[in-house]
Every structure is written in structure tokens, then in C-alpha cells.
Amino acid sequence: MNVCPFETKFVIYEVMKKIPIKIFVVEDDPIYRSLLVHFLSLNPDYQVKSYENAASFYKDLTEQPEIITLDYNLPDATGELVLDKILQVSPQSKVIFISVKEDIKTAINLFKKGVHDYIIKDEDVQQRLWVSIQNLKENILLKKEVASLKNEVEKKLNLQHTLIGQSEGLKKVLDLMQKAAQVNITTSITGETGTGKDLVAKSLHNLSAQKDHPFIAINVAAIPHDLLESELFGHEKGAFTGAASRRLGKMEEAQNGTLFLDEIGDMNLNMQAKLLRALQEKELTRVGGNEVIKINVRIIVATHRNLLMEVKKGKFREDLYYRLLGLNIYLPPLRERSSDIILLANFFIETFCKENGIHKKHLGVEAKKKLLKYHFPGNIRELKSIIELACVLTEKDEIEPAFIQLQEDAHSVYTGLGHYTLKEYNEKLVEHYLQVYDHDVMTVAHKLGIGKTTVYRIIQRKRKEILSK
């Protein structure tokens, strides 16, 4: 069964919903205690425990219940004292006070301290408690979901999960990353397109002291030159036509964190001068504004260009080059890391199959040979695409070489799409499937969801073309 990526979030949410929510009822009145426990226990999603005094409740407080319903007047402590203890030991627990007394002043004081609700013991107590807990339940589930997703992201950005391989080239990269992470030094990442410069930047941020602050990435090449200044430094209301309100720039957004400037080599000279000034003075001024804003941002830059060559050509400022160079991490192209190709391919197969809920596949011997012979001009990004396509095309567990669609493959129907007409494309697709399925017309027709006469007609047409030549 295929699982749409959009469904993943829903699945996590559904799983979270099945984890019981721990509720502690602290109530000295045995009648109300019984009523609350009985009522809450009717919901199988709730795991309810009850306590008749503060002392017995404190003993279990380290269990960190999600919700606590608390009687304001306990025999051995006041509600405020118990609340202080909760805030100290289990600050994430949500507290609902249940009191006989309708005292607005007390209620306001409790709300100021972060209490979720204050309910009066009357005929509506159960309904109000139900609504209050339902609201909290949604909130708790979302928090659990966020924590779980955050954990997943952290796992994904973990070095072992991000940078796969055992080659000497990669070991050198990892070593430099560890060094760069220990100090706040400007880091430049160079390497061909598709070598994973953005992943290295994110991992570096996650390893660094800035990890609890924002990681803001900006692709300089993707932003028109005229807009880059506003994008980077922000702008004030009315700074230019269309600036309807003040907007913070990426540099300000990254305050205390990391700003990743991808494709820095594509920045024009005018903007380079402004960036240099901001980096030297550690301050910026928003477009159209006068206020000087102090910035504390770690800078990571990346480029596929040879910046030194760009400096010699006069396209990149020498002073900015030396300021940005800092610690340089060079990512070798995949063809120089051939020992990592199969490891990476296996990793991509596993990830793709898992994320899409399809049966795990493996590379056949011939498919591996085909991959190892290839030079990967698009590097890891290209390998990932090749593997994902192979996983989709392959129906068996083993990926055969025919499904490894390389750019240089003369039979590939997935390259150069723009050069074909729809008719030509259809013919190429049928031809490809005929090769894959050993010219079994019935199977090809079935796989493509077309009639067998269509397949025969294309074969006939191709034959005529060949004969006429």
C-alpha cells in the first residue's frame, strides 16, 4: 500500500491520539473525587489517578501528568502552594482548579500563574471539565506531534543520517565539520552542484552552539538582484512601491542563529559591498530605514563556482572573498567517492520505500555495476533521482539494470522530454517497455493501460520508418 506523504502527518496524529493522556485528580472530598474519577475514566483515552491530599499527590508528581484537576482547598495545603510545587516539578502539566468558591480575585491570580481553567463545583462541573479537557487534549496531542516531528527532523539531520559514506573524501568533510561546529567561524562550503552543500550547512548548524536558534537559508541565485537587499536586510513600510508594511530581513530573522547564503557567487558587486559592510560592522539598516540594528549571526556560504577565479575576473570582491572564506569545506563530487555510491543508493532505496510505504527493494549485481560505471554529473542529487525512479519502475524486489535510467542511456525516455512531440514520446515509452518486458505485447499493453492494438500500431509504424530509411 502506498502512503501519500501528506497522510504521514495524519498517521502520526492518529497514533498520538491512541497514547492515553495521564490525568491526576487531587480532591479531598470523597464524593467529588469518586464522581470525577468515574466520569473521566469513561473515556478510554484517559489514564486517571486520584489523590485525597497534597502529600500523596506530591509523591507521584514526578510522573509528570499531562493534566491535573486540583481542589483549591486541600486539608494539608492551599491551592496556590500546590500550584507552586507543580510549576516547580512538572511545569508542562496543565492545571484545572475546581473550587466551591466563586472568587474572581483568586481565579485571576491563578490564571496569571498559568492555570488553564477555574471551574466552580456546581451542576455544570462535569460539562465544563469535559470541554476544558477536550481543549487541552487537542493542545497536548499537537505538542506531542511537534515534539515527535522535531525528533524526526533532528534524526534526519544527524550526521550519520545526513552524510552517508566511508570514503576518505567524506571522512575529511566530517572532520572539518566537527572543527567548524566547535567555534563560531564563517564557513564556506564548496563543491559541484548536487553534492549536498545545503545538507552540510544544516548539519553544521545543528552541531553548533547556535542550534537552538533559527537556521535561515537564502538562495542568492534564486532572488532577483533588485530584491536581494530587501530580502537580506528587510525593509520599512513605504520603502518602495509595494512595501505595505515593515518586513524583517533574513539576516535579522537569523539573529543568534545561522544564516546560510547559498550560491553566494551569484551575488552582484553592489550587494557584495553592502553585505561586506554588514558583516564587518555586525549591524544593518533596513531598506528605507534609519535604525541601526545590531546582528549576531553565524554565516555559512556555499557556491559551486570557483570564487578565487571570480575574484580574478573582477566579479567577486576580494575583501568579501577573504571574509567569507573562513573555514572551507570542499565536498568532493560523487565520481571521486565511488566507494560511497552503493551505500548512498541503498540509503535512498530504504528511505524512499519507507516514506512511500512500498515494499523494500534492493539493487541487483548488474544494476550496481551500471551505477559504478556512471560519472554522475549531477552528483548525489542525480543518484537520488535515479534510485527513486528505479524504485517506482521496478515491480520486483530486485532492481534490474534496465530500470537504472542514466542520462547517457540512449533508451531513456525520461531525459530530453522537451525535444519530443507527444506522438514521439508515446512511441519511445512503448519501445522502452517492449525492451523491459522482452517484447511481450500483452504485458506492455497491460502495464501501460492501453490496448494491444495501439502497441501493434506503434511497432508497425516504427518498422515502416526503419524500412524506409
Binding site: D28, P30, I31, S34, L35, N73, K121, E123, Q126
Partner: protein, 119 residues
């Protein structure tokens, strides 16, 4: 005993127990036990003039009196809750307490009968 003569009204309690008769019975037993104990404590506190203690017990009994739909005790309870602070009019406090005790004892007897609970 007819419903008209009953000193209590269990409609709210029935709602809160979800009309679960067994659970309702257990709550009535708890009420009888709890109220009898509280009344005994109040009488002890009257002897030693522990007015704040009495106020605390009354405060705790208030929600159950409401829950069991026992009418007419509201003003007395409100008075006794406040009576612990400042100068205490002992005569008035004791009179109010005896009124509450009398109503509750009668109520307990009626509940015992209605739910066939032995003493």
C-alpha cells in the same frame, strides 16, 4: 416516603453519575458516611469553639449539599463560612449549625430508607 416530602433532589446527581444506579448507590453511601462524620466533627469543634475549623468543614460540605439538591440551607452555610473571621456571634452560629444538623440528619434518614441502607 413520597417524592414531595423528600428533603433532597437527586436529579443533578443522577445526571452526573450517568444514571448508573450502582454508582449512585455508592455515592449516597459515601454522602451519608461523610456527612455524619462532618456533623460529629462540628459538634466537637463547637465544644472547643474552633470556629475556623467549623467554617472549613461547612465549606467542604457546601458542594455536596448542592449536589444532593438539599434546599434552604444556602444562607446558613454562607453565614457560617464567613463567621470564622472577626467577632463570632456564638449564639447565632450554634443556632445555624443546629438547623443544618437537623435538616441533614433528616435527609440522611430519608436517603437510608429510599436506598435501603442499614445504619
Amino acid at each position: 416516603m413520597s417524592k414531595q416530602n423528600a428533603l433532597y433532589d437527586l436529579e443533578c446527581l443522577r445526571q452526573q453519575t450517568g444514571n448508573d444506579e450502582v454508582f449512585l448507590h455508592s455515592i449516597v453511601v459515601l454522602f451519608i458516611k461523610q456527612t455524619s462524620e462532618n456533623l460529629a466533627k462540628i459538634n466537637q469543634d463547637i465544644q472547643i469553639k474552633n470556629w475556623p475549623g467549623i467554617s472549613f468543614i461547612i465549606h467542604k460540605m457546601k458542594s455536596n449539599i448542592k449536589l444532593f439538591g438539599i434546599p434552604g440551607l444556602g444562607p446558613a452555610i454562607d453565614y457560617l463560612e464567613e463567621a470564622s473571621s472577626g467577632e463570632v456571634d456564638e449564639g447565632k452560629v450554634i443556632a445555624q449549625l443546629k438547623n443544618i444538623e437537623s435538616v441533614l440528619n433528616e435527609c440522611i434518614e430519608q436517603l437510608k430508607q429510599a436506598f435501603q441502607i442499614d445504619s
